[in-house]
């Protein structure tokens, strides 16, 4: 079976299946959006505390930091899954039931996380870095740390179920994952088929890396749990750190590769030009499968016992990680929009912004992945600086753009409403400032993860608080828009 034979065959679903699927996708997006809004309020709170405008205990600060980290990563995971699933089900048969199962498993996990943090007092950060969860010096109980890790294990299992269903669907339609990735076309075994859906390529990549990430997580989380209850079992801390960062890095990175399907699918609809896949496109996505998994050692550059070669691989690949897909996507997006007479709506503005945010956010990331720079910037605010940049300005706009698309905005050439414009610019400026203030703080050697800042640093945090308030303002507009327009919106065509 050549991969050309299966393309263009859109999957047929029954009317009621489609209706149910749309509800499920909206549920994912609304949940993701609501959690993100709350977590941004948590971020605002942390900034205000660091800026001395608000006083809370250090315990509570670290609880908030923990809930913020795990909350936004989870929300990005569930939201981007909604985006990917919505588009992927056009090409491969996916089960609504499985999609819902993952959703409710996720909700159950979130309840456990909240309990462990705010009832149990767990504040060891979302990275649950061994041996910290077991060494709280009485700040939180063993049980709280255990529930936190158990919740992550359960959420991971939910996603695992979903990826198995995606894998099953892709294998049924395309025969093997390498065909779905377009590898036979890339290596010239079959002619290039420019209509091979980019969403399938992206979905396959996400499924491969996340499957492996979750497998690593399943091992490391249980080892952590065993240590909590049997402290005489002391696993190698560096091995634990490797596995944890493999899991964490892959999971958060995959959200952007899942959400980018919105760009591939929506820009063509708004410009009337198809997104054509090519050898370069396949090559970029093939490379990223390995890069996303191999770059995590950039988190371990200050761990001198790490094997040298691993750090070198981490550093070299980090230069290029993201670049291949970024380039083909950015270039492709420009080509599609250029002189297409596109009608700018909030949807297209957000999608276009995401290209900028992603591209620009990669620059500080690459800088930090250089050992010489990392020696200075490690664990400074530079780190939150770079990831807030491409998460706030790259990832989230993809999700928001998709939400605006689902509300049907801009369909009949109607202009964006004033409120949407206000939201867009408040968000844009606020997010840009938030990230830049983090970066500037890092450049001034302000450490990350400190509840109390020294007097010299307070001004940075205060500017950061104002910026955060702008983000929240924009986010409020997006959330209201989603809450009021999304539930009743019909399937856009």
């Amino acid at each position: 079976m050549s991969s050309t034979a299966v393309v263009n065959r859109k999957i047929e679903y029954s009317e009621s299946e489609n209706r149910n699927a749309l509800i499920a996708v909206k549920a994912h997006l609304i949940l993701g959006l609501a959690v993100l809004l709350l977590m941004m309020l948590a971020g605002l709170t942390m900034r205000a505390v660091q800026g001395t405008w608000l006083e809370i205990g250090a315990d509570l600060f670290y609880q908030i930091m923990t809930v913020h980290g795990v909350g936004v990563v989870g929300a990005a995971g569930i939201g981007s899954t909604g985006v990917l699933w919505y588009f992927l089900r056009q090409y491969v048969r996916l089960s609504n039931t499985i999609f819902w199962i993952n959703f409710f498993v996720f909700v159950a996990g979130v309840v456990m996380l909240l309990g462990s943090i705010f009832l149990g007092g767990y504040g060891g950060a979302w990275t649950f870095l061994y041996p910290l969860p077991g060494k709280s010096m009485g700040v939180w109980s063993t049980g709280a740390a255990a529930v936190f890790q158990l919740a992550l294990l359960i959420i991971g299992t939910g996603f695992l179920i979903l990826y198995l269903d995606m894998g099953r669907g892709i294998l049924a339609s395309f025969g093997s994952l390498s065909k779905a990735l377009g590898l036979p076309q890339l290596f010239g075994r079959v002619p290039v088929d420019t209509t091979h859906p980019p969403t399938v390529v992206a979905g396959t990549m996400v499924l491969i890396v996340n499957f492996l990430g979750i497998a690593a997580g399943a091992v490391v989380l249980v080892m952590g749990l065993i240590n909590l209850y049997n402290p005489e079992f002391q696993p190698d801390a560096l091995l634990m750190k490797n596995l944890i960062y493999f899991f964490g890095h892959v999971f958060i990175n995959a959200t952007i590769y899942a959400s980018v399907t919105a760009v591939y699918e929506l820009l063509p609809r708004y410009t009337g030009r198809p997104w054509k896949t090519s050898k370069v496109f396949y090559a970029a996505w093939f490379a990223i499968v390995f890069m996303v998994m191999a770059v995590y050692p950039h988190h371990l550059m200050m761990d001198f016992p790490m094997p040298r070669w691993a750090l070198i691989v981490g550093q070299v690949l980090s230069f290029g990680s993201g670049i291949p897909v970024l380039v083909v996507t950015g270039y492709g997006a420009l080509m599609i929009v250029y002189r297409s007479g596109i009608q700018w709506s909030t949807t297209t503005k957000l999608l276009f912004l995401s290209m900028f945010g992603w591209a620009a956010g990669v620059i500080p990331a690459i800088l930090d992945a250089m050992v010489t720079v990392n020696r200075v910037f490690h664990n400074t605010m530079w780190v939150p600086g770079h990831f807030h940049f491409y998460l706030l300005l790259g990832l989230l706009p993809m999700m928001f753009g998709f939400i605006y698309h689902l509300t049907g905005e801009g369909r009949q050439g109607e202009q964006p409403k004033a409120a949407d414009n206000l939201g867009f610019y408040a968000y844009l400026i606020g997010a840009f400032l938030t990230s830049m203030v983090f970066l500037a703080s890092g450049a001034n050697s302000i450490p990350r993860r400190w509840a109390t800042h020294m007097a010299e640093w307070v001004t940075f945090a205060q500017v950061g608080t104002v910026a955060a308030a702008l983000v929240v303002l924009g986010m409020l507009v997006f959330t209201f828009r989603a809450l009021f327009s999304l539930p009743k919106a019909a399937e856009p065509r």
Partner: protein, 189 residues
């Protein structure tokens, strides 16, 4: 017909041979052969007997085994129990624990063979990953724990078992990757 009967007798003979002292003591001498040879073979015998049960038995059992849930639950309880080090110790020291081990592991294999095909493919995937992760976790534990887990076995035995589990788990993972990425089946997992 002839073939079928012959195979069941062979399985039974193998079971008896495993239970008789020469082979039993030989395999239980070391933790590695105990856990990686004796117990798996017992389970496989159970699996194969389960496969060759008469169809009307299978049907009767199946009505108690919707989607394979009952059987899997039973198998998991048995498996978890025999993963406890003290359970293995007891099997070596007390004859009645040994008897229970032979019977329950056999039943575990049988219930796996009756339930696995009934499981939803997604559930099969989750179980496979969970089994794989158990290999890796146990391997790691056996390597890193400072103390012996079994009173009857040496620490060095435990270490070798740990390494073998990790090796086996890695081989399994590689086989999967080939299967999933390129559709090549190295082994049927």
């Amino acid at each position: 017909m002839f073939n079928k009967i012959k195979r069941e007798w062979l399985l039974l003979a193998a079971f008896v041979a495993l239970a008789l002292p020469p082979l039993r003591q030989f395999l239980e001498q070391s933790m590695v052969t105990h856990m990686l040879v004796q117990i798996p073979i017992l389970a496989i015998i159970g699996w194969m007997i389960g496969k060759s049960l008469p169809a009307n038995w299978k049907n009767k059992i199946a009505s108690w085994n919707q989607w394979g849930i009952t059987g899997m639950a039973l198998a998991i309880v048995i498996m978890t129990y025999w993963m406890l080090p003290r359970a293995l110790d007891a099997a070596i020291s007390e004859w009645y624990f040994e008897l229970i081990k032979f019977i329950t592991i056999f039943i575990m294999g049988m219930s796996l063979s009756l339930s696995w095909p009934l499981l939803h493919p997604i559930a099969q995937g989750v179980f496979k990953l969970e089994f794989w992760a158990t290999f890796m976790r146990l391997g790691w534990l056996y390597l890193d724990l400072p103390d012996r887990l079994c009173a009857n076995y040496l620490l060095s035995d435990q270490r070798i078992l740990g390494q073998l589990l990790l090796l086996g788990g890695s081989a399994w993972a590689i086989a999967w990757v080939f299967r999933i990425m390129f559709g090549t089946k190295i082994i049927n997992t």
